[in-house]
């Protein structure tokens, strides 16, 4: 399968297989008009399988979101067809308006103006909790 290489843009590589589409939505790429390729289940020597996202525009991407979904992913910035920057991820201490608290008893369920903020509570197990009600992200 061929996907044209991009001249100016962002390539998010080494995404754990199966997480590409989730990352696409969390980065809100579905809300843009940009050309974006999501390549799933690419054979990788290191990972077995991986996902890749190619964005055909040099836009700022939310590294915190990428690190949250997969801290082992890499972000490559491409300009004039050349790799000019490779960014490694680090788990963010807080996530702002990336996730929504699913606890129906949480204050964020009734007060729409509040920012949804999750804080890293367990680095080893990558657990984030809502700062308001302490419900685990995804729980």
């Amino acid at each position: 399968m061929n996907i044209d290489s991009i001249q100016n843009g962002v390539v998010i590589d080494h995404i754990r297989a199966g997480q590409g589409m989730r990352l696409y939505h969390l980065l809100k790429l579905d809300e843009t008009e940009l050309s974006v390729a999501i390549i799933r289940n690419v054979v990788s020597q290191k990972m077995g399988k991986k996902d890749i996202i190619k964005i055909d525009a040099d836009i700022p991407v939310n590294l915190d979101v990428i690190a949250y979904v997969d801290p082992d992913a890499t972000v490559n910035i491409i300009r004039n067809g050349e790799l000019v920057e490779k960014r490694q991820m680090e788990l963010p201490l807080e996530l702002h308006d990336v996730l929504t608290c699913k606890n129906p008893r949480c204050i964020t369920s009734t007060e729409q103006e509040l920012h949804h903020i999750f804080r890293l509570s367990d680095r080893n197990e990558k657990v984030y909790r809502c700062i308001y009600c302490e419900t685990k992200a995804g729980g």
Binding site: N103, R105, C106, I107, T108, S109, T110, E111, E113, L114, C130, I131, Y132, C133, E134, T135, K136
Partner: protein, 308 residues
């Protein structure tokens, strides 16, 4: 500097001990404190029904010589018109020197605290935290046992939704040589994040059981809780579980003579009234202790805010 108390863990173990020392001093010398809050105002914002906690805060402020301004229910407040917690907190900060707030939504007190310009005390935010109840529990344990370590603490009833249980476990896990017996129906066990965040974190030994009577002989403290109707989305589950544990004189036969029986109240039927005259029953002392600890906390936060 303005500081709020949302969770019992907002207070260090040393601060808890200082609050207990202040409360003991208030008990011994009430006149000394009768005017320390002259002309200061406490706003009690209770967006959920409460009798004892609100009255306790109000009594505490009056006994410090201060005044109380109040919103008694959400239906009579601007919240009924759709005002946010943040705006309410900012507005009330203009009237009061300190706020005590109860709200049915978890995290509401945090929102209030981050928007108020005066200290906020969480008087219960849904099933999340209720730190001043834990202060009452701790003063009661202190006054009954004169120590916070080397205790076998049984907690019984709704350990899943019971915020007072979670706070007590968090607070007592910070002291050495305690162990917990967690007594509940299978459906209402302590959530794993509480076990992980305190019991496992501090290597506190604990056992989980459904059998109150089997656990009884080893206990130094028995903390009974009500199965709370308001925490269930499903009435059938509530009805099935509500009578899981009823403490009767018969069940106390194997208990230690110096057992301390605590309950955050209100009780429904989980402690028989026949136990009220037993010297081991401490739950009404606990109510009184709650007032003293709220006095101590109001004083501490007003002093830190530079209001006193």
């Amino acid at each position: 500097m303005k500081r709020s108390v949302i969770d019992i863990l907002d207070l260090s173990a040393q601060e808890l001990e200082e609050l207990i020392a202040t409360a003991e001093d208030i008990i011994a010398n009430p006149d000394k404190y009768a005017h320390v809050c002259d002309r200061k105002k406490l706003a009690t914002l209770f967006f959920e029904p409460s009798t004892r906690t609100r009255m306790s805060f109000e009594a505490a402020m009056y006994e410090l010589g201060g005044h109380v301004i109040s919103v008694s229910s959400a239906m009579s407040s601007s919240a009924a018109k759709g005002e946010s917690v943040a705006d309410t907190a900012k507005t009330v900060s203009c009237y009061a020197d300190i706020i005590a707030m109860r709200h049915p939504k978890e995290g509401a007190a945090y929102v209030a605290a981050t928007n108020a310009t005066v200290p906020v005390i969480n008087a219960g935010d849904g099933g999340h935290c209720h730190p001043t109840q834990t202060l009452a529990d701790l003063l009661t344990i202190w006054r009954e046992k004169r120590r916070f370590s080397g205790l076998t603490i049984g907690v019984c009833g709704d350990l899943k939704f019971g915020r007072t249980v979670h706070s007590l476990i968090n607070a007592m896990s910070r002291y050495p040589d305690n162990n917990f017996v967690l007594i509940s129906p299978e459906e209402l066990k302590v959530p794993s994040y509480v076990k992980k965040g305190s019991l496992k974190k501090f290597n506190i030994p604990y056992t989980q059981t459904t059998d109150l009577e089997a656990a009884m002989p080893q206990l130094d403290i028995l903390y009974m809780t009500r199965i709370q109707r308001e925490r269930f989305f499903n009435e059938e589950d509530y009805l099935r579980l509500k009578d899981s544990y009823i403490l009767t004189p018969d069940k106390l036969k194997t208990a230690k003579p110096d057992l301390a029986i605590l309950h955050p109240l209100p009780r429904v039927n989980e402690i028989s009234v026949a136990i009220d005259d037993d010297p081991r029953a401490c739950y009404f002392k606990q109510v009184l202790n709650g007032k003293y600890m709220r006095m101590a906390l109001i004083l501490k936060l007003l002093k830190e805010a530079g209001t006193l």
